[in-house]
């Protein structure tokens, strides 16, 4: 709580309604008692409110003027780069097989905003670079046309702004604001699920923007049709433009991301260190960055150079945890369950297709997700030779290219095991 004092009154400001009520219910008596003790003849009044005495954190200079409420009387047009993160550009985006298509589509959109690919719908798991790409498009649009009004916001902010506008009778301002932009970038639209009024409002905003040939870019954690609690008409409209997926980055891309991030922090990362981290952390880029940050921070704190030995020490806990979460045992169990066979089948000498495929998938996953060597994996699969494991890995790489079904099974299992 923030406190403002003057001669007659103590004004206490709570950050939100909940805290205000809490203080009123639990503490107001004690506060009054204390104040009465200070000067019983002339007790100080206590006033409770919501707000902040000093803006403790400056809002970013480029934040769009939120419509509604107090801000309503201010300049309605936001600065042209509303909330875009300047660090998220195409240059700083590390390209790999997993995100090639999404990147290419985003570049197209940045070159021809409001054109054929509208909306651009980018979907994929957490921490794979959706937000980065979205900002990259926005930044490039503004770079090409400094007058373009590009607004980025998280879906929660859209909902909160709308609620605020409704409370302040400013819904028309809200509509005008969001329908006047040149490009609207909304992140994580799965959080619209179940919020019907927001969906309704967004539906009309979306239509208005598309009709006016303004660009809309959306991200989501899954394919539009798979979002529960989203209106059908929205789902179908999301598919009107271009829908692209981002997959988890493969090892080489993870290494490139680490080297790139380290360079941005002014650190030269030895290759073997990058490979060590990238091999063990495969779920998403945020966790990869977190591990790198920790290594850099520890190196600075202890004043040591970053080599493999140091990295292993700094990430000891993290690595131990991952080894526990993704063990060969765990992979065998998960794969057996997925294909509805028994673990004993995977380890057996049986060579029917219904067993060999899952076995090969499990071996390839073990190679990709654990630090075990080929001979170790072979022996964990019923004492097989390391060449059998090598063959399984090659076969899988080949089948994932040629057989969609197997590619899907593999990436499903990969996701189950790593998240």
């Amino acid at each position: 709580m923030h406190a403002i004092e003057d001669a007659q009154a103590l004004k206490l400001l709570a950050p939100n309604r909940f805290v205000l009520d809490w203080v009123r219910d639990h503490y107001i008596g004690s506060i009054r008692d204390v104040l009465a003790e200070l000067d019983s003849n002339n007790p100080i009044r206590v006033e409770l409110g919501i707000g902040s005495s000093t803006p403790a954190v400056e809002p970013p200079a480029s934040a769009p003027a939120p419509p509604g409420g107090e801000e309503r009387r201010r300049e309605r047009r936001a600065p042209p780069t509303g909330n875009l993160n300047a660090a998220f550009t195409f240059d700083s985006f590390v390209e790999g097989k997993s995100n090639q298509l999404a990147r290419a589509a985003s570049l197209q959109v940045a070159g021809h905003p409001g054109g054929a690919y509208n909306p651009l719908f980018i979907y994929g798991g957490v921490g794979l670079g959706k937000t980065h790409l979205m900002h990259a498009v926005g930044n490039l649009i503004v770079q090409k046309n400094p007058d373009a009004q590009v607004i980025y916001l998280h879906s929660e902010r859209f909902v909160a702004d709308m609620v605020k506008a409704l409370q302040h009778n400013a819904i028309n301002e809200f509509k005008r604001y969001y329908r006047s932009v040149d490009a609207l970038l909304i992140d994580d639209i799965q959080f619209f699920a179940g919020k019907e009024r927001s969906q309704e409002e967004f539906f009309h905003t979306f239509n208005a923007l598309l009709e006016g040939q303004r660009q809309v870019i959306l991200t989501c954690d899954r394919y539009p049709k798979e979002v529960n609690g989203l209106e059908e008409r929205l789902k179908s409209r999301f598919g009107w433009g271009l829908t692209v997926a981002i997959e988890p980055p493969e090892l080489e891309t993870r290494v490139a991301i680490l080297v790139n991030k380290a360079a941005q922090a002014g650190v030269e990362l030895p290759n073997e260190v990058a490979f060590f981290i990238a091999k063990r952390i495969h779920s998403n880029i945020r966790e990869l960055e977190g591990a790198l940050r920790r290594v850099i921070a520890s190196a600075r704190f202890t004043n040591r150079g970053i080599d493999l030995k140091f990295t292993k020490e700094a990430l000891r806990d993290l690595v131990a945890l991952h080894d526990r979460l993704v063990s060969i045992d765990n992979i065998q169990k998960t794969v057996a369950e997925y294909f509805k066979i028994r673990v004993a089948d995977l380890l057996s000498a049986r060579r029917t297709r219904s067993i060999t495929r899952p076995r090969q998938i499990a071996m390839a996953l073990a190679k990709e997700l654990t630090g075990h060597s080929l001979p170790e994996i072979g022996s964990a699969f019923g004492g097989r030779d390391h060449t059998t494991v090598l063959y399984a890995c090659r076969k899988m790489a080949e089948l994932r290219e040629s057989d969609n079904r197997i590619a899907e099974d593999y990436s499903n299992l990969w996701r189950i095991l790593t998240t």
Binding site: M1, H2, A3, I4, E5, L12, P15, N16, R17, F18, V19, W22, I31, I50, S52, S53, P55, A56, V57, E58, P59, P60, A63, N83, G125, V126, G127, H154, E156, D188, F191, D221, S283, N284, R286, E287, E289, G290, R293, R294, A297, S298, F301, T302, D317, L318, L321, H322, L325, T419
Partner: protein, 234 residues
């Protein structure tokens, strides 16, 4: 609640003794320094410290709030273990503060409303430039979270495991606490205590407080015979 100490405390008070200088760095000097930097407006956010009960999680977070508050930087301390009497609505508007500390985040793992509200708070704080410090009893990857978005954000920052203290460090931590309270704890008395009572630090600190009061009342120093007498009474 004065303008200089702007901590927001609900349910629990910030313990006066929970300061950075009453925390024995021991094997945890690095997370301690990282948290101090964060409280001073530098350092990396989010910062996530995990460890067993008694590893000093609450001490560290409360110290961070106190440290920030003493520098005129508003800070909020939220003990999520008390979530039964709290509500996710209390997270609204916290992004106006330079530092938000969430203690025992594992307590709300699996609760959809809490998880989503924490996720949104994270995003708003990040947008505004505010810092977030989190503690839990396990690493982010091991939290039973339902929302992967929240997990990946917790994994994004600096993650430290708080290492337990060995016997010598526990003794040093007790003596540091005693000195902060203005009395000396002799080595042999400290070791006697550690043999006699449960080994977790909170229990030891509580006992130390009791002994301090007893020694004040009896006007006696904390010798082994005196302590034996006090413990015998209990």
């Amino acid at each position: 609640m004065t303008a200089t100490a702007q901590q927001l405390t609900l349910g629990v008070r910030l313990r006066d003794s929970a300061r950075f200088d009453s925390f024995l760095p021991g094997p945890n000097a690095e997370p301690l320094a990282a948290l101090r930097a964060l409280a001073e407006g530098q350092g990396e956010s989010p910062l996530y410290c995990w460890g067993a009960a008694g590893s000093g999680r609450s001490h560290l977070l409360q110290a961070a709030c106190q440290h920030a508050g003493a520098r005129g930087r508003g800070a909020a301390y939220l003990p999520l273990a008390e979530h039964a009497v709290l509500d996710p609505a209390m997270l609204e508007g916290l992004e106006a503060l330079p530092l938000v500390c969430l203690d025992d985040v594992q307590a709300v793992a699996g609760e959809a409303r809490w998880e989503e509200s924490l996720f949104h708070l994270f995003n708003r704080l990040r947008e505004r430039g505010g810092a977030l410090a989190v503690t839990a009893d396990c690493a982010p990857a091991a939290l039973p979270l339902a929302l992967p978005d929240l997990r990946s954000r917790l994994e994004w920052g600096l993650v430290y495991a708080l290492a337990p203290l060995d016997d010598a460090q526990r003794l040093a931590a007790l003596q540091l606490r005693a000195r902060r309270r203005g009395f000396e704890l002799p080595d042999d008395t400290g070791r006697y205590l550690m043999r006699r009572v449960p080994r977790d630090m909170p229990a030891l600190f509580e006992l130390l407080d009791r002994l301090d009061e007893a020694s004040l009342a009896a006007q006696r120093r904390l010798t082994v015979p005196f302590v034996r007498g006090v413990l015998g009474e209990a």
